[in-house]
Amino acid sequence: MTTRRAAYEARQRRRANLLAGGSTAVVLILLIVLVPLAPGWEGVQASFFNAEIFARTFPDLLSAFLINIAIFAWSVPLIAALGLAIALARGARAPVLFPLRIFGAIYVDLFRGIPVVLLVYLVGFGIPGLGLPRPWNSPYIWGTVALVLTYSAYVAEVLRSGIESIHESQRNAAVCLGLSERDTMRYVVLPQAIRRVVPANMNMLVALQKDVALLSFIGPVEILRQAGIFKSLLANFTPYVAAAVIFLCVTVPATRYADYLMNRDRNART
């Protein structure tokens, strides 16, 4: 039971798929055939795509990646908590809380403005340099603090935009029911705001996952540092390619998932 319209659309779809498949194949073939024809290809291949070195370094890189995952895992809840606190501080309306608002604004401006690398150095070397005893001077702790400072500033801004995007009528409805400011925020505004900014925060997580590598500047041997060590010992860049493969295995699905959430959100609102 195919209608005329359905048959027509099926034909169009087949045609589109064929064209897309065909053009993709042509591009791939050109890449595969033409790139190796370049005069320097052999050198590039030996330096970046050395199968033997790839296989030799991959297991160590993978285990170094566990450090990235650990740093990431303990940073995220801290970033979420601090980001929320800063967002709420910035949105505080009571006059007595004015210092809190100013603090929130300065915090966000400051830590979004400073490059993460600088903060990692400054906090990672500087604060322990004040004379903290072990284990409280660990680069893991202070490196994490640097990441949390930066990312909570970003997350605070995202959350604040989410809070402000909730229509005033929702607040009004809550206030008219007798809910306090606090309860209105907690039960009515925040749950909706947080849901609304999930996609933006997913992108933040992907960026954080990559920035975790900056902690290697102050000592921890995470995956990029491990790759750098191999590069130096083997005088070959393949370990970086291997590290990139590991990164992609995590970030691509995460980015796709974020896109999916964003699309779903967009569809839900139309």
């Binding site: 009528s169 009004n172 029911l177 809910l179 306090s180």
Partner: protein, 242 residues
């Protein structure tokens, strides 16, 4: 003559430089149902919002059970539960089920787990099967009834309704008006801003025709609808009853 439940005297309200209420006097007695009619922009909604303090009034008094809630700095929180309001756009909380929408305020404000009472309300307004649904799973009429239940769950003595059927498809209007009829039978004190002229004429104790920020004419429904005194009232009724 009993003390009015709600008494407004000389209420003025401006948005920026535009004065939208030019000194309103209005008294609503317990159990009375007052309908505000008038063209869009005549000040009906603003007047309702001044009655529960959602819009602070610039001048004049709003007395609820004798207490002037329009006094600058008056703490409105405790009186919110005495006067409920339902909006044109429902304003349900989209992330909560119908039940949770209703149960939130009693739990947080009254510290009461009002489950039986709330279930009875859903039952009464024919929504018992929909308590677990989210607002976007309900029709407009159903959502508006949930919004009414949400306000009723705080056990208000007075209810304000701000054009609550205006956003509904025509076939859903009646189910919401039935709710109002039922509340009328309970003896609830009600003030409605409405465009449902037939409904207003049938049920209201009093009609207030608002025009350009004043109550231009008020009286019993039959009088207003059959023998309006003012030219503006005649024009308005002629245009809506065509």
């Amino acid at each position: 003559m009993p003390e009015p439940r709600l008494a407004l005297r000389g209420v003025k309200k401006s948005f920026g430089d535009v004065e939208v209420l030019h000194g309103i006097d209005l008294a609503v007695n317990p159990g009375e149902m007052v309908c505000l009619i008038g063209a869009s922009g005549s000040g009906k909604s603003t007047l309702l919002r001044c009655m529960n303090g959602l819009e602070p009034v610039d001048d004049g008094e709003v007395r609820l059970d004798g207490v002037d809630i329009a006094e600058p700095g008056f703490d409105l929180a405790p009186i919110r539960q005495k006067i409920g309001i339902v909006f044109q756009s429902f304003n349900l909380f989209p992330h909560m089920t119908a039940y949770d929408n209703v149960a939130l305020a009693p739990r947080r404000v009254l510290a009461e787990d009002a489950r039986t009472r709330i279930e009875a309300l859903f039952e009464r307004f024919g929504l018992a099967a929909h308590m677990g649904k989210y607002p976007d799973q309900l029709s407009g009429g159903q959502q508006q009834r949930v919004a009414v239940i949400r306000a009723l769950a705080m056990r208000p003595q007075t209810m304000l309704f701000d054009e609550i059927t205006s956003a509904l498809d025509p076939e859903l209007v009646d189910e919401v008006l039935d709710v109002l009829r039922s509340l009328r039978d309970d003896g609830m004190t009600m003030v409605l801003a409405t465009h449902e002229m037939g409904f207003a004429r049938e049920l209201a104790d009093r009609i207030c025709f608002m025009d350009k920020g004043v109550i231009a004419e008020e009286g019993a429904p039959d009088l207003i609808f059959s023998t309006p005194q003012r030219e503006r009232t005649k024009q308005f009724l002629a245009s809506v009853l065509r």
